[in-house]
Structures are given as structure tokens and as C-alpha cells.
């Protein structure tokens, strides 16, 4: 076929016009809808912050919620709340994804006989519920109505009590799977107080943790991390010593100076050995001679030599440890987690109490003046008794408020079956979790961010919660409002029910009585408004009061004697711990928490079984091989994670995955660890046995690809994470003070020759200093970055392909294994937050063919998305591997997209992206300063990662300002400062301060 030139042009012309025409029609007009009456607090384009309390775990941290045009877009810590003083963990930040979860229940539901759900209106639902309730009450069975909640305090708690009082029932179950039964029991034996004390890590100079993961999930991790850094960081002065005892190298353990792993279940004996040493060497403090003698009598049989036989820890080491603790002046010993779970758990914690007592810590670092309200929880034993009464048909109506016992109890307890024996089970729930799915009737309620409420995590800290926005779904209701309506109809008539906002009035009324109780001089309305703005009322403790040791030798010798039986473990011992991201499983439907890697294993979207290399070799298990665990009560399968971070003979698993319901992000990820737990409570404490369980380990002969983001486990000799010994650091610091300190010279060091022209930064040069000695690896910064910068969650498959989009990641490197494979290997992990280094000589910039990557006058490596054509040259040329490519247009299923930060572009397919140093926050800070006619103050602009960091390891600021904190930190810590891969002469703006090893 001949095609003439002229014909070709004709066709071309016609086709062009045809295709171009639709492109020329004007953009469809959009409407702009202003308010009818403008809201006085809302300025379009500006954020409003509301204070509240985080309800993602019982710690009760204070939060600030950033709201833009009526939508909550970010959650940060509230600096005024003493529980967390301004930082927030990953779970707290992900509460937004509970609020906007696409799998929220939107309508009241009633179960049909065939098991399907029938959608009801609220009126129908309330009528139905009242009819059923009145039926029960009329039959005189009001006392067979029960209510199950997680840990609650304050107004909602009181309202439920009101309800139960009105129907004449006392069946109230406060259930948390992690309920500290053993700690309460041990404290009752030791001090006559069945309470969970508050712990003051900040003033301890020696920290000894027996399995308590206080940097991750134990009691109040954000606050404890803050205190821990304060006492331990080199900056803070002395640098407290910290030793961790337990079978598993948790994140908390790897932050210790030393990890000691005695035989599982014998940790208490180690504590007793230390008590023995301190008493016999006359180092005990704060106790009378008589007490001292009595306690010494209890330690008979725990001389170091004997303890060595029980625990496998050298007697000499025990002696050293004990004397070091006694000499520290102020110390703290805490116990929990993986060392518990056997029948000796109360004895173990009692031994730790003894240790604290003879070191004079009670009333100082272990404080009973502000005990935690968690102390009011019922035990697992109470729950099992309740399940029995359900089975016996004694319960005719059972209410659940935001609790999920079907998932968070051992399946062998058969809570599901017990529920079938209850004619009416009502779930006040936002999500179709396992328990809600088993209920016969579901009332969709607001999430905490949409509700009024109050929460008192510990004595004196009264947190106040307010709805930060209109409900996401107009068809959900506040639990409190529903309850007041029900109370009203069943005869507990109150003045609140006639109000438009009944629960709000109820909360306010309760706070009115608090106001009177405190004898506040300020008038109530002002006090209340202030409390709302501050996120609550925080009253200082009346001061530590003396708590005396009350345990007697006769009472205790039997209990403590149990510790002498060095347990003979079966083949393998299973220890489990709540996951840092998912806690007891309640975070599993938040996509951020699934995608942010577990800091130690770097695994996302699923769980794993940790097993020691020597054991793995025996069973021929490699990383990723599917392993089956069998206990007397259940079986599960999960991929193996082979590493030396568990003691030989121990397998470890994190709790939280393995949901069969609870929404699209939770379902089908990993295995449910509760399946392995025995249904019976431990006889000594009444708690659930979640560790130290005998287990059979079988290699299933299959292999799966773990969705882990770790490039490598080891540094391979590259100095990415640098460590300095304390001796050398002290020498260098002395030199620095004397003015004799010489900086290392070399290519890429500041001042060295370079072929590149230096950049001019006329106004600002943004930079960051990251103190690796403070960083615990908790990953709160990673979640903050996801939230702030609209980073999409890509899902398991894409993570497996290495396509996760995190701008900031925590790199984890284990210490190199010893050359001799038979030698013991302590894989102690170091963490390094890796983000765009904003290099001066940025390798990404010159290779971009379209100038999408360029250097701004403020020293940032900008990425202009509209210029980017996706060649990915920049990413190939980036030595830090911090650039991320959008392989797809990622979606945020409605209403998850409501969370998107309106100040940050949502990137589309084919675009490269990376950390911007939160340029939107920088611009906002500069604009605020401009509006007030001043220059930007140091510390005024914080990046999202810095704001979230509980350890305050990240400091951001202007390098041009010699007085800025970021500069001063560098100056003060000159010997510790280094830049990653600086030999490449990239001149990064991020300086890391070396980790310190003692």
C-alpha cells in the first residue's frame, strides 16, 4: 500500500482535531459551598487543634487532633498531659484509621435465625432492645443482665454502673487480655496493696527489667520511653545502666546494655540471688535491721552458687549485677511479659518487689501514690467464671462495649459457644470484630474521636475527651447517648435524657462534681473550658508516701520456694508478647499498623515464629519456612524467623494477628496466637497463661516469602550505624573541653576538597540531628510520616516486591555474628532512622533529565511532582535508597481518604517521591512568623517525625542559626557526630550522633 505524503497529513490533521476537541472543553465547574453560619473556630485553610485522650490502649496518653475544615487529619501527643508529655506511639496516631475505617458498621443490625444480618433503623433497634430488656426485667431476671467492657473509667463507666444498678444486676466484667493479675497479687502479698504502681524511670540510675517491655507495650510505653531517655541519654549526664532479663530479645531488651537470658521461668530465682547478695554484703537501704534479717531468711537457698544451678547464670555475674544495682543509689526493677506465665509468676514478681524494697526504691521509683486505674480490672479467672455462668444459661442478656473477648481469649475457653447460650448479646461496636460477629444485635457507635468522655489512667490525671468532628457516619451514635436513652426508658429517669446532647451533659455534670471535690476557686464554666482546651485536669501527686513491706517470712517462704525448682522445660517453651504495633490485636484493622514494619524483624502484614539458629538447624528450619506449633490446646502455623534473639529452647511469637473478622486489613494476616493458650487461669495469680507454655515445633516443609523490608541483617563492614565506646567518648569529650579535640579528616568531611560548587543558602539551611543513642527503634516516627505526608499503604504483595512507599524507615542492623559459629551470639540490634539526607551534593539532582529533583535555596532536595516523568534515575543514583516510586495510583477506600493532609499533594502513578523535611510544616511556620512580623524562632517548626518521637532523638532546625538547637547539639556532641556514607561527598544535612556502648 502506498501512502502519499499528502494523504498522511490529511489523516493526521483530522485525527488531531478529533482527539484534541474534548481536551479543549473547559474544566467542569466546581462549586464552593460556604457556611450558612460560619463556625467561629474554623478558618478555611487553617488547622484547629482539639485536645483529647487516646483510647487505643489503657495507657491513656493525651492527644491533640489536627482538624482542617471539619475533618480530623492528624493525631499528635498533647504536651500538657503528664502521661506522655507530647509524643505519641504508632497506635495512638493510627486512631485516625479507626475513625475513618472503611469497614465501620453503619447501621444497627439484628441477626436473623439463619445467621445473616437484618439492617434496622435506630428507632426500630431501640424499640427492639427495650422490648427484649423489659421482657427480661419483667421475668424478674434483671440480675442476669451482664455488661462487658475493656478498662473504662469516668462517665461511661459510671453510666454502665447506673444501668446495671437500675436492672438490679452486679454482673460487670472489665476485661483486658493484658491485665497484670500477677503484679497485683504480688503487690498485695508484698505491700498489702493489690495495685499497679506508677514507675519513675526518670530518676533511676540503674534499670533492671525482667521481661517487662516498657518501651513497647508495658503499662505506659510512651511516657516510660520519655523518662528512660531522660535518665539514660549521654546528653542527660550520667547515663543510667540498664539490664534486661528474659528469654527473648525484645525491642526493649535490645536497648539494654546487657541482655541476660536465664532458663525460662527461673528469672525470679535470679532476683532472689541478687537480694541475697545485697543483704549479705550489707548494701541494703531503707529497711530496718529486723526486716533485713527476715528477708535474708527468705533467701535461704538462693545463694549465688545455688542460683547459678537453677538459672544457668554464672554466680559471679549475679554478684556483680546485685552490687552494681545496690551501688547505683536510685534504681528500679520491673517485671512482666515473657518472664511470667508460669505458676511461679507471682513468686517472680514478689522476688522483684523484694529487690526493689532492699534497694530503697519503694516510694521513690516505684510509686503507689499515683497507682494506675488498671488496678481495677478483673482477672482472667473472673472471666472464666463468668463464661461458666454463660454456659449454664445464667446470663439472659450480655452487652459488649468495644471489647473483643472472642478474639482475645484462648479459643479453648470457647467463649463463642458460651455466647450461643445467651439469648440476647448486644455489641456496642464500631467494627465487625470477632465478638460483634457472634452477637445477636449490633449497635454502631462512635469511635472515641467522635465522642465525649473522660479517662483517668492514673490517680490525679483526669483526661477529657471531646468529639473532634461531626460523626463520619450520620447513622452511628455515641454509646453514652444510647445508654442514657435506655436508662431513661427502663425507669432510671434523669434530667439528661431531655437534653439534645445527653451524654455531654452527663460528662459535664460529673466534672461539676469533680470541680467541687477539688475545691477549685475558679468558677466552673471557665475551669471546664480550660480543662477542655488542655485535654483534662492534671493534679500533682500529694507526694510519695511510705509503703511498707508487709510480707512475712512464713507467708512467703512457700511461694518463693517455688522458684528453687529450676523448671525442667519441655522440648520447647513458647513465649509471646503483645505486638508493638497491634497491642493485643486491637490495632490489626489499621492499615498503617500493618504496613509499618515490626522494628526488630522488619516484617509487615503478618506474624512469625522466632526460633534460635541452633534449634532451627536441628529441625532444618530456614527463615521463611512454615513452622507448626502445637500445644495441648491448639495448633497454628506461621513462617519462621531464625535469629539468635531468643534463647535456645524457646520459640517466641507476637500477639495481635490472625483475625477471622474485623475488616479487610485485619482478616487473613498471620496466625492467632491465643489459639495456643490454655483456657484455665494460672492458679497462683488468676491470670491468662500467655508465656512459658510447652510447645511442639514441627517443620512443615513449606516456604513462604516474608513481607520484610530489611535489606540486610548486618552492616557488612559499612559504617552506616556507628558506635562509640563510653571510654573513648569520655576521652574525646575531655579533649573537646580542653580544646585539643581534632576532627577526623578525609574526603567528604566538612572542609575537604570538592569539585562541586558550594550552594548558597541566603536565609535558611534546614538540617537535622538524630541521636542514635536515644533512638529506641519504636517506629512512631514512621507512622507519623505516613500520616503527615499522605503516604499510601501498598499492601503485603507490593511490600514483598520492595515497593513500600515509606519516606522514613527504621533500619535495623544486628551485631555481626562471631567468627566461630559455635560461640554464643548476642544479636543486639542497632536502629537508624533513614530518611532523605537532603544532601548538598545530591546525587539525585544532576541525573534528573527534567529538573524534577533540584536544590532549593533553603537546602532541601525538592522533588517537583509535576515535572517528574518517572525515569527513576534519581532513585538509582541515591546511595541512601530513600526515594520511592509510585508504581500505581494507590487508593484510600472511602472514608480513609478523609484523613489525607490537604497541605500535601497526593502523588500519582509514575512519580518519584521522598522525604521533604515536612516542607508544608516549614512553609506554615514561615508564614505564621511572617503574619506576626518576626523571623522563625528555633524549635517553632518541627517535622512530623520529630514531633512524634517519644525519645526526642530527632531535632530539626536551621543550620544558619548558630544558636539553633540542631547546631548546638552538633557542637556539643562533636565527637559523636557523623554522616552516613560521607565518603561519597554527598554532604548530607542530617547528622547522626553515634550510639554509645558501655
Amino acid at each position: 500500500m502506498e501512502l502519499k505524503r499528502r494523504d498522511f497529513l490529511k489523516i493526521l490533521g483530522g485525527a488531531t482535531v478529533a482527539t484534541a476537541l474534548p481536551g479543549c472543553t473547559p474544566k467542569k465547574p466546581q462549586s464552593l459551598i460556604p457556611y450558612v453560619i460560619p463556625h467561629e473556630e474554623i478558618i478555611p485553610g487553617k488547622s484547629v487543634w482539639y485536645a483529647g485522650v487516646c483510647r487505643e490502649c489503657p495507657a491513656g496518653c493525651g492527644i491533640h487532633v489536627r482538624v482542617r475544615e471539619g475533618r480530623a487529619v492528624k493525631v499528635e501527643g498533647n504536651p500538657l498531659n503528664p502521661v506522655n508529655s507530647g509524643s505519641l506511639c504508632s497506635r495512638g496516631q493510627a486512631s485516625l484509621q479507626g475513625l475513618y475505617n472503611p469497614d465501620r458498621i453503619q447501621h444497627p443490625l439484628r441477626k436473623r435465625p439463619d445467621g445473616s444480618w437484618e439492617q434496622l433503623s435506630w428507632q426500630q433497634a431501640e424499640e427492639y432492645l427495650l422490648e427484649q430488656l423489659n421482657g427480661v426485667i419483667r421475668n424478674g431476671k434483671g440480675n442476669s443482665i451482664a455488661w462487658m467492657t475493656p478498662h473504662l473509667t469516668g462517665s461511661l463507666d459510671a453510666l454502665i454502673e447506673d444501668f446495671l444498678g437500675a436492672v438490679g444486676s452486679r454482673r460487670r466484667i472489665r476485661y483486658e487480655p493484658i491485665a497484670f493479675e500477677a503484679l497485683k497479687r504480688a503487690n498485695r502479698i508484698s505491700f498489702g496493696r493489690a495495685e499497679i504502681p506508677d514507675h519513675d524511670f526518670a530518676s533511676a540510675k540503674f534499670i533492671l527489667s525482667f521481661g517487662a517491655d516498657f518501651l513497647e507495650t508495658w503499662i505506659s510505653p510512651v511516657g516510660y520511653t520519655k523518662d528512660f531517655t531522660a535518665t539514660r541519654a549521654f546528653d542527660a549526664g550520667a547515663g543510667a545502666k540498664y539490664v534486661y532479663v528474659g528469654p527473648r530479645l525484645s525491642l526493649t531488651a535490645t536497648n539494654a546494655d546487657e541482655w541476660i537470658a536465664p532458663k525460662p521461668g527461673t528469672e525470679g530465682a535470679l532476683a532472689m540471688g541478687m537480694v541475697n547478695v545485697i543483704l549479705t554484703s550489707g548494701e541494703a537501704k531503707g529497711i530496718s535491721l529486723a526486716d533485713s534479717n527476715e528477708i535474708l531468711a527468705m533467701t535461704r537457698g538462693f545463694a549465688p552458687k545455688q542460683v547459678e544451678e537453677i538459672t544457668g547464670i554464672k554466680a559471679e555475674r549475679i554478684r556483680e549485677l546485685a552490687l552494681e544495682m545496690a551501688a547505683a543509689g536510685s534504681s528500679i526493677a520491673v517485671g512482666g511479659g515473657t518472664v511470667l506465665g508460669s505458676d511461679t509468676e507471682v513468686a517472680t514478681l514478689t522476688a522483684i518487689n523484694l529487690l526493689n524494697t532492699i534497694c530503697g526504691n519503694i516510694g521513690k521509683t516505684v510509686r503507689f501514690d499515683t497507682p494506675l486505674t488498671l488496678s481495677h480490672l478483673q482477672s482472667y479467672a473472673d472471666l472464666t467464671r463468668f463464661v461458666q455462668s454463660m454456659e449454664q444459661g445464667e446470663i439472659s442478656a450480655l452487652f459488649f462495649t468495644e471489647t473483643n473477648p472472642v478474639f482475645s481469649t484462648p479459643p479453648a475457653l470457647n467463649f463463642t459457644h458460651a455466647m450461643t447460650r445467651v439469648p440476647l448479646s448486644v455489641a456496642f461496636s464500631s467494627f465487625m470484630d470477632e465478638t460483634t460477629a457472634q452477637a445477636t444485635f449490633v449497635l454502631p457507635v462512635h469511635t472515641p474521636l467522635e465522642s465525649w468522655g473522660d479517662y483517668e489512667p492514673k490517680r490525679g490525671a483526669y483526661g477529657l475527651m471531646q468529639p473532634v468532628m461531626q460523626p463520619v457516619f450520620p447513622t452511628t451514635k455515641m454509646s453514652g447517648d444510647v445508654l442514657i436513652a435506655i436508662n431513661d426508658k427502663i425507669g432510671r429517669r434523669t434530667t439528661f435524657s431531655t437534653s439534645e446532647q445527653p451524654f455531654f451533659e452527663y460528662v459535664k455534670d460529673r466534672w461539676n462534681s469533680l470541680h467541687r471535690q477539688f475545691g477549685e476557686k475558679q468558677e466552673f464554666d471557665r475551669w471546664w473550658t480550660e480543662a477542655l482546651a488542655n485535654g483534662g485536669v492534671f493534679r500533682p501527686s500529694s507526694g510519695p508516701f511510705a509503703v511498707r513491706w508487709t510480707g512475712t517470712a512464713s507467708e512467703l517462704s512457700g511461694i518463693l520456694g517455688e522458684l528453687k525448682r529450676g523448671e525442667t522445660p519441655p522440648d520447647f517453651v513458647l513465649v509471646t508478647s503483645p505486638s508493638i504495633n497491634l497491642y493485643d490485636g486491637r490495632g490489626a484493622n489499621r492499615p498503617w499498623l500493618q504496613e509499618v514494619p515490626d522494628p526488630m524483624t522488619q516484617i509487615t502484614w503478618g506474624n512469625w515464629i522466632e526460633i534460635h539458629p541452633t534449634d532451627a538447624e536441628k529441625l532444618n528450619i530456614k527463615r521463611g519456612d512454615v513452622v507448626q506449633l502445637t500445644t495441648q490446646h491448639g495448633v497454628l502455623e506461621a513462617p519462621a524467623y531464625v535469629y539468635a534473639g531468643v534463647r535456645p529452647g524457646v520459640v517466641a511469637m507476637p500477639i495481635g494477628q490472625g483475625h477471622s473478622e474485623y475488616g479487610r486489613y485485619a482478616k487473613g494476616n498471620g496466625a492467632n496466637v491465643y489459639a495456643l493458650f490454655p483456657p484455665l487461669p494460672l492458679s497462683s495469680s488468676g491470670g491468662m497463661q500467655w508465656s512459658n507454655i510447652g510447645v511442639r515445633v514441627v517443620n512443615r516443609g513449606e516456604h513462604v516469602k516474608l513481607a520484610d523490608v530489611a535489606g540486610s541483617d548486618y552492616l557488612h563492614g559499612r559504617n552506616i550505624v556507628q558506635v562509640v565506646s563510653i571510654e573513648e567518648l569520655l576521652r574525646q569529650t575531655k579533649e573537646l573541653q580542653e580544646g585539643t579535640y581534632k576532627e577526623e579528616e578525609g574526603f567528604g568531611k566538612p572542609g575537604s576538597a570538592s569539585m562541586y560548587q558550594e550552594h548558597e543558602h541566603p536565609d535558611h539551611r534546614w538540617g537535622m540531628t538524630i541521636d542514635l543513642d536515644k533512638c529506641t527503634g519504636c517506629s512512631a516516627c514512621v507512622t507519623a510520616c505516613y500520616a503527615e505526608n499522605n503516604i499510601p499503604v501498598v499492601g503485603k504483595e507490593q511490600v514483598q516486591l520492595g515497593r513500600e512507599l515509606s519516606w522514613l524507615r527504621i533500619e535495623r542492623y544486628f551485631d555481626d555474628p562471631p567468627a566461630d559459629p559455635q560461640a554464643p551470639h548476642n544479636p543486639n540490634a542497632e536502629f537508624l532512622p533513614m530518611l532523605c539526607q537532603q544532601c548538598d551534593n545530591a546525587p539525585c539532582e544532576p541525573v534528573c533529565p527534567v529538573y524534577a529533583a533540584y536544590h532549593t535555596p533553603e537546602g532541601l532536595n525538592a522533588q517537583v511532582y509535576n515535572r517528574c516523568v518517572g525515569t527513576r534515575y534519581c532513585s538509582n543514583n541515591c546511595p541512601y535508597k530513600v526515594r520511592r516510586f509510585n508504581w500505581f495510583d494507590y487508593e484510600w477506600p472511602e472514608p480513609l481518604n478523609w484523613q489525607l493532609n490537604p497541605d500535601v499533594t497526593v502523588r500519582s502513578k509514575g512519580v518519584m517521591e521522598k522525604c521533604t523535611f515536612c516542607v508544608q510544616r516549614v512553609v506554615e511556620g514561615k508564614n505564621n512568623a511572617k503574619m506576626e512580623g518576626r523571623s522563625v524562632a528555633d524549635g517553632e517548626i518541627t517535622t512530623a517525625c520529630q514531633q512524634a518521637c517519644p525519645a526526642q532523638a530527632i531535632v530539626f532546625g536551621d543550620l544558619k542559626d548558630p544558636e539553633s538547637n540542631v547546631n548546638k547539639l552538633r557542637e556539643k556532641n562533636k565527637p559523636r557526630g557523623y554522616r552516613v556514607l560521607e565518603e561519597l561527598n554527598t554532604q548530607p544535612a542530617v547528622v547522626y550522633l553515634k550510639e554509645i556502648r558501655s
Partner: protein
């Protein structure tokens, strides 16, 4: 020989055609100026009447420019502030009253639009004393508000920033 050479290109013609079409399309779209008339508004509001004839200051209704990025479209309450009494019986003003009584917001049509990738902030411009006219045209003479074409043209923004020694870093407007 020469013919063969030409023939060897023939199978590629569809490809050339495609490339040419795409390039032309891009050029056409880029050159495609926006309409000279504004969208039809739900109420025939006249800026010429308010800003021109009665000399009401722009910032009386668009007070947001002093506070932050957005200028604001006035709320129904704001309109009613005057129209409770002023010209209360005119048909177009009645529409405002209806909205006020029904507590329904008025869905005004957006006139000046910016690319999604632009983060414009009114405040710094107002603080520097930039006249609204510079970017919005002579609104005081517009009965029906028309888009000011240049607002959607980056080089126009950059020129002005250059002339006034304002920041021309990409991050000033894009992030």
C-alpha cells in the same frame, strides 16, 4: 535503493502518526484558553453593583485573605447582615432569604481555579499590599464574575515574583 529506504519507513507510519497526534494534542490543550465568561451562579450576584457602585471593600466579604490561605466566600449569614433590610424584596435577594430560612448553604460556582498542585496563600500577598486587581482583574466592573486568565499561568506568577523579589523557589507554591 532509495525506494526501499522509504518503504522501510512505511510500517512505522502509524507510530509517527501517533506521536505527532499526541504532540499536537498537548500543544492544543496547552494553548486552550479558558472561557471568557464565568460559570452561571445560583444567584445573579453582581460584583459591579457591590464592589463598583457601592464601593464595598473586597475584604468586607472576603475577610479570609487577612487570616490565611483562603479568601472565603461569605456565609449566608454574612449576606443577610445587610440584606435583612437592604433590597430585601428583590427576587435575587429573596433567594438568599430562602436559603437563610431553610438553613441551606448556597452552592456558588468556583470561578478562579488553580491546578491541584498549587498551594496558594492569600495572606502574604495582602500583607505585601498587592491589590486584588492584580490577580483577579477589574472585579468592580464585572456584573458576572469572569475568571482572570493569567491566574492559571505559572510564568505570570513567576514574573511577578521576580519583579517584586519574592521567593521563586518551587516549594513556595508546590509541595
Amino acid at each position: 535503493m532509495r525506494l526501499n529506504f522509504v518503504r522501510s519507513f512505511i510500517p512505522c507510519i502509524p507510530l509517527y502518526a501517533f506521536v505527532a497526534i499526541v504532540m499536537l494534542m498537548v500543544m492544543l490543550v496547552a494553548g486552550c484558553e479558558r472561557q471568557e465568561t464565568g460559570p452561571r451562579q445560583p444567584i445573579a450576584f453582581s460584583h459591579a453593583r457591590h464592589a463598583g457602585e457601592y464601593q464595598i471593600n473586597c475584604q468586607y466579604c472576603h475577610s479570609g485573605v487577612r487570616k490565611g490561605p483562603n479568601a472565603y466566600i461569605p456565609s449566608v449569614q454574612m449576606c443577610m447582615g445587610c440584606h435583612q433590610l437592604v433590597a430585601a424584596n428583590k427576587p435575587e435577594v429573596m433567594k438568599i432569604r430562602q436559603a437563610w430560612e431553610a438553613k441551606q448553604p448556597i452552592a456558588w460556582m468556583k470561578v478562579n481555579t488553580m491546578a491541584d498542585f498549587v498551594y496558594f496563600n492569600h495572606y502574604p500577598h495582602i500583607a505585601k499590599g498587592v491589590d486584588c486587581k492584580v490577580c483577579h482583574g477589574d472585579v468592580a466592573s464585572m456584573v458576572e464574575l469572569k475568571p482572570f486568565v493569567k491566574v492559571n499561568n505559572m510564568s505570570w506568577c513567576v514574573d511577578c515574583h521576580r519583579e517584586n523579589k519574592a521567593n521563586i523557589d518551587c516549594y513556595t507554591c508546590h509541595r
